[in-house]
C-alpha cells in the first residue's frame, strides 16, 4: 500500500525561514494529487521533502506505512520528474533510462526489457540511441518520464513537468500523463503545478497551498464549488471570483447582507447570531453573473472595460462602493458600450459568503 502520510511536517531553512508550517496530509495509494498555489508558497519544498532531497525539520513522513524521514531518496520507492527534465546530457536516451537500474545492479537483460518496455509505452523506441540534446522538448520530457517509469516506483513525483513546453505540447503531454496514470492505477502520483487547468484536469484531489499552509484539500470541483475560504475561492477559477465587501445584517438559517453601497441580498447560508453586524465578504464567480434590466439585482455599476474573447465576453464593471472591479463573464458576444450602466444578478445557489476572517459559511439551507 503506497500511501503517503505527512503528519505535522515543518520545514525551516537555515534555522530561520519557516517555509512549511504544520502540514498534515493523507494520500491514498493510486491517487493523483496535485499541489497548486502561488509562486513561492512551498509546493516544490513539500514535494522535495517527500522525495527526500530536502530534509524534514519536524514532523513525520510515512510512505507505505514506513517512517522515511531519514531514508535517502533512492530507498523511498519514489521517482521524480523535474521541470528542466534533468536528463544526463552525456548519456543516450537508453542509458538515461537504464541508469537507475544499473545502479541497482540489475542484470543486462532485465534492464533491456524494462527500458524497451517503457520506451515503447512512450513512443521513444526510435530515439533510444540519441543524446538528449538531439531531442525536442516534448521528447526530452517523455524521456524523463520514462526514466521514472522504469524504476517501477510506488510514488511518482512531478515538479512542474510541463512548464518548459510550449502551449500545444503542454496539452499533448498533459494527456500523456493522464494516460500514464490510467495505465498505472496502482501508483500514487504527486504533481506540482501552478497551472490551474493542469490541476483541474489531472487531479483526483487538489492540495492548495499558500505561504506554507494547506488551504484546502479536495476534488477539483469541490474546490471550485465549495471553497473553504476566500483564498481558495479566489485562486481556483479564472477569472477569479468577485469578492465584494458587505455587512451581515441578519443572521440565522438564511442570511441577509448589505453589500456596501449596493443592495441588500438574501444569501441561502446559515450564519451564527454572533456574527450580526460583522464585516463579511460576498463572493460570486464571473461566470455565474448575468445581466438584469429590472427587478432584483446584486450590484450596479458602469462598464469600464470590455474584453471580447469570442466564445465569451468579459465585462469589467466599476461597481459603486467597491474598490475592485467586478468581472462578469457572459457567453457569446453581447454588445455593450463603455460607460453604460448595468445591473448584475446571480442565482442563490451560486452565492458564497465568507466571514470576517475569510472562512466560508458552509451550511447551506
Amino acid at each position: 500500500m503506497a500511501d503517503v502520510k505527512l503528519t505535522n511536517v515543518k520545514k525551516v531553512y537555515n534555522n530561520q525561514v519557516e517555509v512549511m508550517r504544520d502540514i498534515n496530509l493523507d494520500i491514498k495509494q493510486g491517487e493523483f494529487i496535485v499541489f497548486v498555489g502561488p509562486s513561492g508558497c512551498g509546493k516544490s519544498t513539500l514535494l522535495r521533502m517527500i522525495s527526500g532531497l530536502e530534509s524534514i525539520t519536524d514532523g513525520t513522513l510515512e510512505i507505505d506505512g514506513q517512517l522515511v524521514n531519514d531514508i535517502p531518496p533512492a530507498m523511498r520507492g519514489i521517482a521524480m520528474v523535474f521541470q528542466s527534465y534533468a536528463l544526463y546530457p552525456h548519456m543516450s536516451v537508453y542509458d538515461n533510462m537504464a541508469f537507475s537500474l544499473q545502479i541497482a545492479k540489475l542484470s543486462k537483460e532485465d534492464i533491456d526489457t524494462q527500458v524497451r518496455k517503457a520506451a515503447d509505452m512512450l513512443q521513444l523506441t526510435e530515439y533510444l540511441d540519441r543524446l538528449p540534446k538531439a531531442l525536442s522538448g516534448g521528447q526530452r520530457q517523455r524521456v524523463a518520464i520514462g526514466r521514472a517509469i522504469v524504476r517501477k516506483p510506488k510514488v511518482f513525483l512531478f515538479d512542474e513537468p510541463l512548464s518548459n513546453l510550449d502551449a500545444a505540447l503542454r496539452v499533448a503531454t498533459r494527456m500523456e500523463i493522464a494516460n500514464l496514470k490510467e495505465s498505472m492505477p496502482e501508483s500514487t502520483m504527486i504533481y506540482v503545478t501552478h497551472d490551474q487547468v493542469e490541476a483541474m484536469t489531472l487531479a483526483d484531489r487538489i492540495v492548495l497551498l499558500s505561504a506554507g499552509n494547506i488551504e484546502q484539500v479536495g476534488a477539483p470541483l469541490e474546490l471550485y464549488e465549495n471553497p473553504r475560504n476566500v483564498f481558495v475561492a479566489k485562486f481556483i477559477g479564472a477569472p477569479a471570483m468577485n469578492i465584494l465587501p458587505a455587512t451581515l445584517m441578519q443572521a440565522g438559517e438564511g442570511t441577509n447582507i448589505q453589500i456596501h453601497s449596493q443592495q441588500a441580498v438574501w444569501v441561502p447560508v446559515a450564519t451564527p447570531k454572533n456574527d450580526e453586524q460583522a464585516a463579511v465578504s460576498f463572493g460570486v464567480r464571473p461566470e455565474d453573473l448575468f445581466v438584469v434590466t429590472e427587478g432584483e439585482y446584486l450590484v450596479e455599476g458602469e462598464v469600464a472595460f470590455i474584453e471580447a474573447l469570442g466564445e465569451a465576453t468579459l465585462l469589467y464593471i466599476k461597481a459603486f462602493g467597491c474598490e475592485d472591479m467586478v468581472i462578469c463573464k457572459l457567453s457569446g458576444t453581447p454588445q455593450y458600450k463603455r460607460g453604460a450602466s448595468i445591473k448584475l444578478m446571480t442565482k442563490p445557489e451560486k452565492m458564497h459568503l465568507f466571514n470576517t476572517i475569510g472562512l466560508t459559511y458552509r451550511n447551506r439551507v
Binding site: 514506513q66 517512517l67 524521514n69 531519514d70 531514508i71 535517502p72 530507498m75
Partner: protein
Amino acid sequence: MGQLASALVIVIVGVLGCACYFYGSNFLLDKLLPSKNKPYDVVARNLRIAGYIRPWLFLGPAFLALGFYLVYPVVESFRLSFFGRSGEVFVGLSNYAWLFNSDEFYQAFKNNMLWLIVVPTAATFFGLIIAVMTDRIWWGNIAKSLIFMPMAISFIGASVIWKFIYDFRSGDDPQIGLLNAVVVFFGGDPQPWITLPFWNNFFLMVILVWIQTGFAMVILSAALRGIPDETVEAAVLDGANGFQIFYKIMVPQIWGTIAVVWTTITILVLKVFDIVLAMTNGQWGTQVLANEMFDWMFRGGGDFGRGAVVAIVIMVLVVPIMVWNIRRANAEMEGR
C-alpha cells in the same frame, strides 16, 4: 625510455591508488554503516553518521596535501624566521634585525617595488590596448593567439630568448643581439644592457611583461565582450568618438576585471625569480626578494633563518591581495 615507462607506471599506479582509495574508503564506509535491510532506526543512524564522514573521505587527500605543502610551511617559516642558520638555535629577532640593516635586502626590496609597479601596469595596459584593437579586426584571433603564445614559454626559456636579444659585442664586431643591432642601425652606440645599472631592471621586467600581456589580453577581451552593446551604441548616438568610448564607456565597466588581472600579475611578480636567476643572478643591482630568498637557502650551505625572513616579507606583501581575493570569492558565492 625505461625511465619514461616508469613514469607511466607511476601515473597508472597513482591514478589507480587514488581510485582505490576513494572507492575503497567509500566501500568500507558503506560496509561499516550498512543501510540495506536494516531496521529503520539503524538505517537512519548509519546514514547520518556516514553523511558526516563521507565529505571528509572526499576531501581527505586534498586536505592533507594542502596542509603539508602550503599551510604548515607558512607557519613553519614564521617559526624558522626566529631561528639560526640550521633552524635549531633560537635567535629571537636577530634575523629581522639583520634584514632591516642589510643593503642587499634594501636593494632587493626596492627593485621588487619597481617590478610591482611596472610589470602589472604595463602588462595590463598592453593587454587592454591589444584586446580592444584585436576585437575589431578580422585577423584579431590570430593576433591574439600569437601574443598569448609567450604564456606557454618557461621563464628560463624566455630568459634565453631575451638574453639573445640583449646580446652585446664590444668594439666594431657586428652585433648579433637584435636590440644592439637596431641601436647601431640608427647610429647609436651598442650597450651592455644587462649590466647597465638601474636600467637593467627594466630590461628584465620586459621579459615578464612580454609573457604576461597575453594573459591580461585574454581576460580583458572576454570582459570587453561582456559589455552590453547598447551602452556603446548609446555613446555613439551621443556623438562620442572612439577614444571617448574607450575611456568613458568601456574601461569603467570593466574595472573589476582590470583589478583582477592586475592583482593576479602582482602575485606572479612577487613569486618570479627564474628570470633574475637566469639573467643576472641578482648581480648588477637587479636582486629581487624571491631570488634573494633562494640565495640564502643555499648560500654557504644555506641559512634557513634568513631565507625564512625574506619569505615572510614576500608573504606579508601578498596578504592584502589574499584578503581581497577571499572577500571577492565570498561575495560571489553569496550572490549565487
